[in-house]
Symmetry: C2
């Protein structure tokens, strides 16, 4: 059996409370006593039982992470990198990440991730893929559980951390326009997600800036997966094969787009330029390398944990909205349009 606080107390002829306080660094215990306690703990390998601590303090030091399981995310390297950074930062603050990898997007009013929230097992939650009119906000707020979104939330009272979607998309699309592209297709994400909306907005702004009318025939929505991007591109090509560039709302969909274009006999970038979003490492390893808007993925992971930790400690009661800079990253998948 692992030693308990009581074991330590018995050995040292002290009370549980003194031992507990000694380990917690309470200034009330004498220096000499603390040393004895620490030495013994070291020697017999005592470690406080976090479950018992959790019961007593009502804090678990665990952060719940709601990653959408199906169909997206769990094959999107973006999330892995994000998750790694978040986990690392959490650890630095003394927290662990409890994964809620559940199917179901709450379309039926049932939010599987909220199970975790209700469970009293976590001190706070990180939510991904904020929706327009996200029902989870109400649920969590009612419970008084701190939470932070990865991605912009509509409600001004909730905290979130996001990349500069609109500006980044606008800048990248403007770059396509500068090269001479006029017919630029767009593969968006699911309409109910704020990330889809904000990136699409950047696309529209860039077109508007250049005086190019929005043509909905060359806009299709995917679901942030490779297949989704593939299918969306197919559908665009059926309507109108005469595009010279495509902006996909994330890299993974861009890969699907590239495949659809190739299957249509089009060469990238000679016939069609392709632009992604996210900046996952893989973009540099495909052929041709994918131009993209690089998000600081790891920083997003770190920042979101830091914001959440702040909320949990009650330091900042007011909501925090953090926008991290993104950067257009040119690559071989983008070139001037074919002369004609």
């Amino acid at each position: 059996m692992r030693p308990t606080l009581q074991d330590m107390a018995s050995i040292l002829n002290l009370s549980k409370s003194t031992v507990s306080r000694a380990l917690a660094g309470d200034p009330r215990v004498a220096e000499a006593t603390r040393n004895r306690v620490v030495a013994l703990a070291e020697r017999i390998g005592y470690r406080p039982n976090p479950i018992a601590q959790g019961l007593a303090t009502r804090r678990t030091n665990i952060i719940g992470l709601a990653v959408p399981c199906a169909p997206r995310s769990l094959s999107d390297p973006f999330y892995l990198e994000f998750l790694g950074a978040a986990g690392d930062t959490a650890m630095r603050y003394g927290y662990s990440l409890l994964l809620s990898a559940a199917d179901g997007d709450g379309a039926d009013g049932y939010h599987p991730h909220m199970e975790l929230a209700h469970s009293a097992r976590v001190d706070g939650m990180i939510l991904t893929e904020p929706k327009i009119q996200d029902e989870r906000v109400g649920i969590l707020r009612k419970m008084g559980l701190p939470f932070v979104f990865l991605g912009m939330a509509e409600d001004p009272d909730v905290s979130w951390v996001s990349g500069e979607n609109t500006g980044g998309a606008a800048e990248a699309v403007a770059h396509l326009i500068d090269l001479g592209h006029r017919k630029i297709a767009c593969v968006t994400g699911p309409a109910d997600q704020t990330a889809s909306e904000t990136r699409f907005k950047g696309y529209r702004e860039a077109l508007a800036e250049a005086g190019i009318p929005l043509d909905l025939n060359i806009v299709a929505s995917g679901d942030f997966t490779q297949i989704g991007g593939y299918q969306a591109m197919k559908s665009i090509l059926r309507h109108d094969g005469d595009i010279s560039a495509v902006f996909a709302s994330n890299d993974v969909m861009a890969f699907g787009v590239m495949r659809a274009l190739r299957e249509a006999g089009l060469v990238i970038p000679d016939d069609v330029s392709v632009l992604g979003f996210d900046g996952i490492p893989l973009t540099q390893y495909v052929n041709p390398p994918l131009a993209t808007v690089r998000q600081p993925i790891s920083e997003l992971g770190s920042a979101i944990v830091e914001v959440l930790v702040g909320q949990m400690n009650g330091k900042s009661l007011c909501p925090i909205h953090k926008v991290l800079n993104v950067e257009y990253q040119p690559a071989g998948s983008v070139a001037p349009p074919r002369c004609r």
Copy 2:
């Protein structure tokens, strides 16, 4: 405040124990009483506090998952898919996954993932990337904590779940040989991992079978990352540019290999064929699509959780070794060698 068992008991004029037993389905409580209890629980939204349950029962219903954070894994889609399936299956069995995403591989004798194990927060652990002579085995065994490896472990007494590495690699390499390839380079994983060893063994077996001598000049080891594959391939090309095919021990490294080949002016598959391992979805989206050995990634995730759950329930005291079939998946990155 969320209602407690005591609250329920007070309202119903029952004792805590009866309420607890009613909810647990103990046959000793009267049917009518149970109904009252369940109805009230439903009405006021009572949910047992898992922390308190954990303290009382000494079970947390949490599975620890040690994912190697740096440098690999957390950008390898393989792990995400695995993780998704594992999380899903865990949930089905009433468990959650606690992530240990920490740096450090124990090279200095310190294993960050073991923190989780020591914490008494988890009922069992899933370990990835088993090493040859893995020190973690001793640590966990001493604590008596159930654990299962993803990938073959040397020690016959530990449980593991793995794809058929050796056979799969041999079959795929044999396919290259059938096509006429003779000089087949190999980019292996880190030498201390069993996965590297077993896949490399398949490569050697296929060569031996065909009477082709092993040439260590065209073998280099990577670290299962894109960059690692890229650098390993570069180094092979420096020694000997005259290869006609490459077998990379995982898909992600294969992407790096492809990039290195392209930078050397070589065309895939005309000049050099490339073969990967894992079968991540992305293989079908790169150009040309990557031939690979498809592992049943989701099944690996499900199976490993099931094995672990079995161990935790003490059903099976004897170690379980589960090998899942893999399948060679041809694609455009492999073609007969250029005639000369």
